[in-house]
């Protein structure tokens, strides 16, 4: 793949910030959008739009086809067995809340446990605390090692009493860049009778995800990190899981029939999709999936690996820098801190040079405590990130460090 050509697909990358060319190193928070996504959504609004799943008119039927094509694309992207295993949500947070509510409270029994890891985003912590408090589920945390990897021995020890009903874990840390060994985690969970969910919000951007090869029971991600629009997320679940789960939100579109005495539910996946869905976002996400499939995950993964290697080499040369996470299998999300400057000051000084990074706790406060910091700065890469942008980051960080020394 040719990065210069890819950059031409993203109109926003030509912007200047405070007089400097934009160096966008915050894709892990939300990625930029290619022209194909922008056009797909605009074209739908200009030429072909109505509500879906209900109209008997031409516009509704065409819009339903365009929207439902996203379900096929998402199923193919993840190698799901069928399109009925794809549930659309608002984002990963929506997917995790759906599972915590519907599977956590609806299928798991009080006294059963859910295992998360010590490097989760708040979205994979808080819904389980809510399920714990409402339904008497135990919440267990598998610790991470000093290198920022899942402690597999400690993880297995948490499974051994057979009480664990579900393991819910990130597939790639949004702070440390660590990829978790998903296939091994799933095999261990299944060995002890637990189901397994992966939060693939970060991982799906960089690697081909095969839910059947991983033997994942659930896998969720969000559209806006995969170069698609905000407002749409994807929950994959094995059909047998969806069949046994009660609905989450009630309303239109998720029912088979309604009377005042009783309602019956639509078939999966629609049982979990109450209300008018994110129609335009689905159409946009379909375009985003087509876009990344055309580039190919092999090429994108190689690009990410090359950027990560370059960034680790350049950043580690900076005096007084601490890079968080030294996992063997890590990707293009790099958190760091400078000894003489607070991460917010670092982010502001980088911003003055047009370089966008995130600073803060990254919605992972327990992990921040584990690392012994209040906040970090984080650079993250996308398909359009160049080696020269990483050089700009490293050069500017050196000057920032000198300025605060």
């Amino acid at each position: 793949m040719n990065v210069d050509d890819i950059r031409k697909d993203f109109p926003i990358l030509g912007q200047t910030i405070r007089g400097k060319p934009l160096v966008f190193l915050d894709s892990a928070a939300s990625a930029q959008k290619p022209r194909a996504v922008i056009d797909a959504m605009r074209n739908a609004m200009e030429t072909q739009y109505a509500n879906v799943h209900r109209g008997l008119h031409w516009m509704s039927e065409r819009t339903t086809e365009a929207y439902e094509a996203c379900r096929d694309a998402a199923a193919a992207l993840m190698n799901a067995e069928s399109r009925e295993e794809i549930v659309f949500t608002g984002n990963s947070t929506g997917a995790l809340n759906l599972v915590a509510h519907s599977y956590g409270r609806g299928v798991l029994k009080p006294g059963q446990a859910v295992v998360i890891s010590g490097m989760e985003h708040h979205s994979n912590i808080v819904p389980w605390q809510m399920a714990r408090d409402a339904h008497g589920i135990e919440l267990r945390v598998a610790p991470i090692t000093d290198s920022g990897e899942l402690d597999m021995t400690a993880f297995e020890a948490l499974l051994q009493d057979g009480k664990v009903g579900l393991v819910s874990m990130t597939h790639m840390s949004n702070v440390l860049g660590t990829y978790t060994p998903a296939a091994r985690i799933a095999a261990l969970a299944h060995q002890y009778g637990a189901k397994v969910l992966f939060d693939g919000s970060q991982a799906i951007v960089h690697r081909a995800i095969d839910v059947r090869a991983l033997d994942a029971d659930f896998y969720c991600w969000t559209g806006h990190k995969l170069y698609g629009p905000t407002g749409i997320g994807v929950l994959y679940a094995k059909r047998e899981m969806l069949e046994q789960m009660p609905p989450f939100l009630g309303g239109g579109d998720m029912i088979s029939s309604v009377s005042y005495e009783k309602s019956t539910w639509a078939r999966v996946p629609h049982k979990f999709e109450a209300g008018t869905p994110a129609i335009l976002e689905g159409i946009g996400l379909k375009a985003a999936i087509d876009y990344v499939q055309a580039i190919g995950f092999e090429a994108m993964a190689a690009h990410e690996a090359s950027l990560t290697e370059h960034a680790m080499a350049r950043l580690s040369q900076i005096e007084g820098i601490r890079i968080f996470g030294q996992a063997q299998d890590r990707g293009g999300v790099i958190s760091f801190a400078l000894d003489k400057a607070h991460s917010h000051d670092v982010a502001t000084l980088l911003d003055r040079q047009g370089i966008a990074v995130r600073a803060g706790h990254h919605c992972a406060e327990p992990l921040m405590r584990r690392l012994g910091v209040d906040s970090t700065a984080r650079a993250s890469f996308g398909v359009y990130t160049t080696h020269a942008e990483i050089d700009a980051l490293a050069d500017t960080l050196t000057r920032v460090r000198e300025f605060f020394a």
Partner: protein, 152 residues
Amino acid sequence: MSFADEVRELYQEVILDRGRKPRHGQRLAAFDATAKGDNPMCGDRVQVWVKFDSGDTISETGFEARGCAISIASADLMADAIQGRGKADTKALFDSFVAMVRTGVCPEHDTVLEQLAPLSGVHEYPSRVKCATLPWHALNAALEGTREASSE
């Protein structure tokens, strides 16, 4: 413009200096009011202690902060600026300060606000305005007798 010139638009020497070596960066052994402030979005935390002399005139201010250079420098400059002021006067200054860091405009001939003017550069960085105002919110909470404040 050079890197250093661009940086100094926001990080003037006084901010760097006060951020590094605050003059008032300790808790007071004896105090009349205190409150904590925190910014949950970024994790910055500050606690302010205030001592009054006879009546409601502020005689001494101390603080402890975990945060960026902007928030620490702002707390330290605040402690200077409110010295010798009454409660009502201090609250009026709080309002003027917040207006200044939001707009970047420092009223002319206001010598107290001019001391705080180095912080006015944050108006170009909306997410950093809260860093500058956090210690003031904590101070305001202390004066009002509420124990906690948030810059959210």
